[in-house]
């Protein structure tokens, strides 16, 4: 407390050092640099040490133990130099000298005590790394508490202003964007304590930095009161972070950020870029801009909902009303009063069309001898414009959050894909990845505890389906409408993902070896959707290219199947002129063009005339007889009875039974009655 109080006493005093430009003054250049460095170190320690007392962060405790005593000792040794910098040449002994001495003595005592505790507790585990980290963090903290007079003292004026998008202005803009990005990037994966500690340190730094260039005399003037919007951010941010006050935080987030952003783009500072005032302006507005943003990006505060935005607007409305009153009242005592630009012509000069709005609509009255001028229309327009800006800011925030969430999801999904491949590699061992993951399954379809949920629904469309289908079989998959037949088939052929379980086609896992698995499959869809502007031949050729079927083979197969299905004459007509049956036949030819091991058909006979249905059934029998697998779904019992070797009945997403047709016939069990028993 002594340490802090003495520092604060000194903070509100002007220093003679501030007037020295370019190393020309009552101190030599090396002395100037040295005393600036000491002041800089002291200001940084005043932020780190009190915060470190409240947070369980080892690095802050190390700063208190190792850096604080050294700096305080140096301040005491060079006390005369310090007082010369503060009071000018030949400084007289007085209250300030006592306060500085007391401050550093307290600091030395505090630091010494902390160091003593460390030695006593032998707290030297990984001391080298910890010291390194301590210096690193302290260096960053020094950047956060940058000395606002150093450049001016050492270099004088640079001859450039930070306005009108000059080079220095643009550099200042880049800092305001890069700083929060870098801080978020480095801290995003750290623990909550570290993130909160960082935000707290920055908030306190903002507070200390803000009052750096104030004196007691200036702050008690109306123009010096910290009521300007961006000035309020300096203490409101600290209050919000220290006391975790949501309402205060979202006021800064929705209102201060907008104001600071406008101030960064349209600065009202005409002093030299290296001057104290200019540095102070930029540091103030950088903090006002990115502290609230960091509060959300570091997940100390949640993203604002519309409800919280409303609260921020209510708080802003109160602030705005208060500023109108304060401006009108205090301008009687100090004509320079201009909180939130409501009095001056700063904005009117930028937006000249607003001049008449301001000058022609004034409400004037007197009260207790004081004159109150309220620019009511200008105030209303300003308020409305600011509310609009708040909403636009919220929209921009929402959009940026969506983008950030989206690309986070992209990274997560990419990592999941890479993990899949690594797992596959581990499972395959020395075997190449294009070999079946399960060599014993090369002549079968194996479905293992397959389950499927759509989107975020809790309901399973298909649950715990386990099946094996071997080569040479025609396997029927029957069930009522909505039982889960198409869902199972679509997951098998790769149209939909698998929620749980696995599916292997000829030993290839459809999830992990999709290309190899799909190469084994020929699929006939249930919706006979084909490209209607292509001819039948072009469509089949398109599919043949996707399956890399050589030209001679495909021409031979097209001829064979076109002849079988009596489609030869129609093949060179656009598909949109085909009947339903012809479209289905084209799909069958396309599915068989690469002579797949597994032929999957989803309700292939729906809507077909008897001739077409017969032809497709014959094709299915022939394909199975050649040692391949035919897997099809249907709800037409008679067809299934005639051509299937085995069937599975599915109802409400679950397999009710798997039966051999031969066995059912032997036991004289009617498939229809069996099916109806599960309905």
């Amino acid at each position: 407390m002594i340490y802090l109080s003495c520092f604060l006493f000194g903070l509100f005093r002007s220093d003679a050092l501030d007037g020295i430009a370019g190393g020309v003054g009552f101190l030599s250049l090396p002395e100037l640099i040295f005393v600036n460095l000491l002041r800089w170190l002291s200001a940084t320690l005043v932020v780190a040490v009190p915060v470190g007392a409240f947070l369980k962060l080892d690095v802050l405790k190390n700063i208190t133990a190792f850096i604080l005593p050294v700096v305080c000792l140096l301040n005491i040794i060079f006390l005369n130099l310090q007082m010369t910098a503060r009071l000018g040449p030949d400084p007289a002994f007085g209250v300030r000298t006592v306060m500085v001495a007391l401050e550093n003595a307290a600091g030395l005592g505090l630091g010494g005590f902390c160091l003593f505790r460390k030695i006593r507790d032998r707290d030297f585990e990984r001391i080298g790394r910890r010291i390194g980290l301590m210096f690193g963090i302290f260096g960053l903290l020094m950047a956060a508490n940058f000395s606002q007079t150093l450049f001016y003292n050492v270099f004088g004026e640079i001859g450039a202003e930070t306005t009108d998008f000059s080079l220095v202005h643009r550099l200042a803009i880049y800092v305001s964007v890069l700083a929060p990005l870098l801080i978020t990037w480095f801290l995003k994966d750290k623990s909550y304590e570290i993130r909160y500690g960082a935000l707290l340190l920055l908030s306190v730094s903002a507070f200390v930095s803000y009052f750096y260039h104030y004196t007691f005399e200036s702050i008690i003037q109306p123009t010096g009161l910290p009521f300007h919007l961006c000035n309020t951010a300096m203490f409101l941010s600290a209050i919000a972070v220290i006391f975790k006050q949501k309402e205060v935080f979202y006021f800064t987030y929705m209102v201060n950020v907008v104001g600071a952003f406008c101030a960064i783009l349209l600065p009202n500072v005409t002093d030299d870029a290296f001057s104290l005032y200019s540095f102070h302006y930029w540091i103030n507005h950088w903090y006002a801009f990115f502290l609230p943003i960091l509060g959300v990006s570091l997940k100390i505060f949640e993203r604002p909902t519309f409800k919280l935005v409303r609260k921020g607007i209510v708080a802003f409305s109160v602030y705005f009303g208060l500023m109108i009153v304060l401006n009108a009242w205090l301008v009687n005592y100090d004509p320079g009063v201009d909180y939130f630009f409501l009095n001056s012509n700063f904005l009117v000069e930028k937006f000249t069309f607003a001049r008449s709005i301001k000058e022609d609509f004034i409400l004037t009255f007197t009260l207790n001898g004081l004159t109150f001028n309220i620019y009511w229309l200008y105030d209303i327009c300003f308020y409305a414009a600011y509310i609009l800006l708040i909403f636009l800011t919220w929209l921009v925030y929402s959009y940026l959050y969506k983008v950030a969430d989206h690309y986070k999801e992209v990274l997560v999904l990419e990592q999941a894909d890479r993990l899949q491949i690594r797992k596959l590699r581990a499972q395959m061992g020395d075997r190449p990845l294009d070999q079946p993951v399960n060599p014993e399954g090369v002549d079968m379809i194996r479905i293992n505890h397959f389950a499927k949920r759509y989107g975020r629904s809790d309901r399973y469309a298909v649950k715990d389906v386990t099946l094996e289908v071997h080569d040479g079989e025609v396997f029927g998959f029957i069930g009522h409408n909505g039982a889960g037949k198409s869902t199972t088939i679509k997951s098998l052929v790769g149209i939909q993902s698998i929620t749980e379980g696995s599916m292997e086609i000829c030993g290839y896992d459809i999830s992990r070896q999709p290309l190899e698995a799909k190469m084994q499959i020929g699929y006939v869809s249930d919706n006979h959707a084909v490209y209607e502007h292509l001819t039948g031949r072009e469509y089949i050729g398109y599919v043949a290219d996707l399956y890399r079927v050589p030209a001679e083979e495909r021409e031979a197969r097209i001829a064979k199947y076109a002849d079988m299905f009596k489609l030869t004459d129609a093949l060179d007509r656009e598909i949109r002129g085909y009947s339903h049956g012809m479209k289905q036949k084209v799909m069958v030819i396309a599915a068989l063009i690469h002579n797949p091991k597994v032929w999957v058909l989803d309700e292939p006979l729906t809507g077909l005339d008897p001739t077409s249905a017969f032809q497709i059934k014959e094709c299915m029998r022939e394909h199975a007889a050649n040692g391949n697998i035919v897997f099809f779904s249907s709800h037409v019992i008679e067809v299934v009875e005639k051509i299937c070797d085995r069937i599975a009945i599915i109802a409400k997403g679950e397999i009710k039974g798997v039966y051999r047709m031969e066995d059912l016939k032997k036991e004289q069990v009617s498939l229809e009655e069996l099916y109806m028993s599960f309905a």
Partner: protein
């Protein structure tokens, strides 16, 4: 009959407008905010016209504007109604329902009308409100404005419905006689080019804008008055907004509406089914050429895309439109620019405006890409089941669209070179900037549809009209064009010619590179995860 029509309307509306994820209050608030912002923008434009450009924003101006809006709406509605009424993929579903063809026709028309009404809330309402604020709002103005918001879209839709029938017949005829299409196209193109060159030849050189301006604006005002003389019906419609409206105005407007309704009922409706059936029944044969060898996957995708473009007239038309409009507009605008004596700063502003115009046109053309995944429709299953890296179809579609887009930019570059005074370096840099931004926008448009495909919607309706990704693509394209134009103006004025170009090209390269990286990441992750 009314009950069935109501059910058909409700069914179609329910299908188009899904349940919103946001709170209704937020939804309404955002929409109201959008209307306020657009109204403010339009008011600024009117202010600019009236106070700076000396173009009188008065009743005559409003009449001309409404006439123009009606003309554009009728053309647009005719085109869209052709697709929706006669070529809609949901026709087989609706015809199979227990409803008459005329009931289906009326229901579809009503749904289209409702959609146009809601669109009018973002276009017509801000225009009329802004005009009202400009000229003086009255209670009568506001009350009749509500009426106008219903009547104007209804008029445009009914006219479109009447015109869509002969338009479909002409379309059908031209499809049967492709040589006639070619001849008519060449003749129309020839006339258009001749007319354009003749019009541009009238531009005085040097074009002293300030000196000629007053004369020119006076002639524009006279032109508006002369056109207004022919806007019978529209005049009565606009009269409704102002004091001095009479009962005759109401009667005339309602009379026109009644006449159009009768025409629709007795002409368009009876022939509706016949026209739909005619389209569905026609097909064509192609000559078979045996494949010598199998193509690569990428090659086969490209071939398929090209075939689909040439066999889908609406798609081909869109590409041709982009291919023609870009160079034509560049020619017109730069002829005007070339006629003006400009100093270096003026030249730099000319470059900035060329960037704006070029990118706006590219944005319009690239909107095809914003429908790329959805346009696969139910046929998307082929891509899901094929044992190939089928995400390559994305690159095939981008290549095809990109070639068309780049070709239009190149043609624009050629026409620009014919008329401009800009240096060769400026032209080449402009070309590079436009190509880079065009490509980046193409990728971005595709990405919209990749992340939010409307496969089932397209499968049912067969048009891209309802795909919100198209709107997003155009919106982002316009925003990008505006931002880049402002960047150009800023950089050129601040940094000079070479400094400005270096920055503009850096921004273009950076933007293109970022979009490429982001698109590739999204494609790698999300294409295989598309499900429907």
């Amino acid at each position: 009959m009314l009950e069935r029509i109501k059910i058909l309307i409700a069914m179609q509306l329910r299908d188009r407008h899904r349940r919103r994820k946001v709170h209704p209050l937020v939804f309404v608030l955002l929409r109201v905010l959008a209307v306020i912002c657009i109204t403010a923008g339009v008011w600024v434009v009117f202010f600019f016209f009236n106070n700076i450009m000396a173009l009188r924003v008065d009743r005559a101006f409003l009449l001309f504007l409404v006439g123009l809006i009606l003309l554009i709406s009728v053309i647009g509605n005719t085109n869209e109604l052709m697709k929706t009424l006669y070529l809609g993929k949901d026709n087989p579903i609706l015809f199979a329902l227990p409803a008459n063809h005329s009931e289906v026709f009326l229901a579809k028309l009503a749904v289209f009308c409702i959609d146009e009404f809601f669109k009018g809330l973002y276009t017509l309402l801000p225009i009329f409100l802004a005009f009202g604020l400009f000229a003086g709002l009255t209670v009568g103005y506001l009350l009749n404005l509500i009426l106008l918001l219903v009547l104007l879209p209804a008029l445009a839709v009914l006219l479109g419905a009447v015109l869509s029938m002969p338009a479909m017949m002409i379309r059908h005829l031209l499809k049967r006689l492709p040589w006639l299409t070619l001849i008519l196209g060449l003749i129309a193109g020839g006339f258009a080019v001749w007319g354009l060159i003749a019009l541009m030849a009238l531009v005085p050189v040097p074009l002293r804008l300030l000196a000629l301006y007053t004369t020119f604006m006076g002639k524009v005002n006279v032109f508006i008055s002369e056109v207004n003389q022919y806007l019978f019906g529209v005049r009565n419609l606009v009269n409704l907004l102002f004091a001095g409206r009479t009962v005759w105005d109401y009667l005339i407007v309602l009379g026109i509406l009644a006449v159009l309704s009768v025409l629709v009922y007795f002409l368009a409706m009876p022939f509706y089914f016949r026209i739909v059936a005619q389209y569905a029944e026609s097909t064509s044969s192609k000559r078979h050429r045996p494949d010598k060898k199998a193509r690569t996957v990428f090659g086969t995708f490209c071939l398929k895309e090209i075939r689909m473009i040439f066999r889908t007239p609406s798609v081909l038309g869109s590409y041709l439109y982009t291919l023609i409009s870009f160079p034509v507009l560049m020619y017109v605008v730069n002829t005007l620019f070339a006629a003006i004596n400009t100093d270096l700063q003026g030249d730099l502003l000319v470059i900035s405006f060329n960037v704006l115009i070029g990118l706006v046109l590219c944005a319009a053309g690239n909107s095809m890409c914003a429908n790329a995944v959805s346009s696969e429709g139910m046929e998307f299953w082929v891509l899901k089941t094929a044992p190939s890296r089928t995400y390559q179809i994305a690159w095939a579609k981008i290549l095809v669209n990109g070639v068309a887009s780049a070709l239009s930019v190149l043609l624009g570059f050629v026409t620009l070179s014919l008329v401009t005074d800009l240096s060769w370096t400026d032209r080449v840099f402009l070309l590079i900037t436009l190509l880079l931004f065009d490509f980046a926008h193409l990728l971005w448009s595709f990405q919209f549809d990749l992340l939010d495909p409307h496969i089932l919607d397209f499968a049912v309706r067969g048009t891209s009209a309802s795909n919100p990704n198209v709107g997003r693509s155009v919106g982002i394209g316009l925003l990008t064009a505006l931002i880049l134009c402002l960047f150009c103006v800023f950089f050129f004025l601040k940094e000079g010619w070479m400094g400005g170009w270096i920055r503009v090209l850096c921004v273009a390269v950076a933007f293109c590179a970022i979009r490429l990286v982001l698109f590739t990441a999204n494609l790698r992750v999300y294409f295989k995860r598309i499900e429907y």
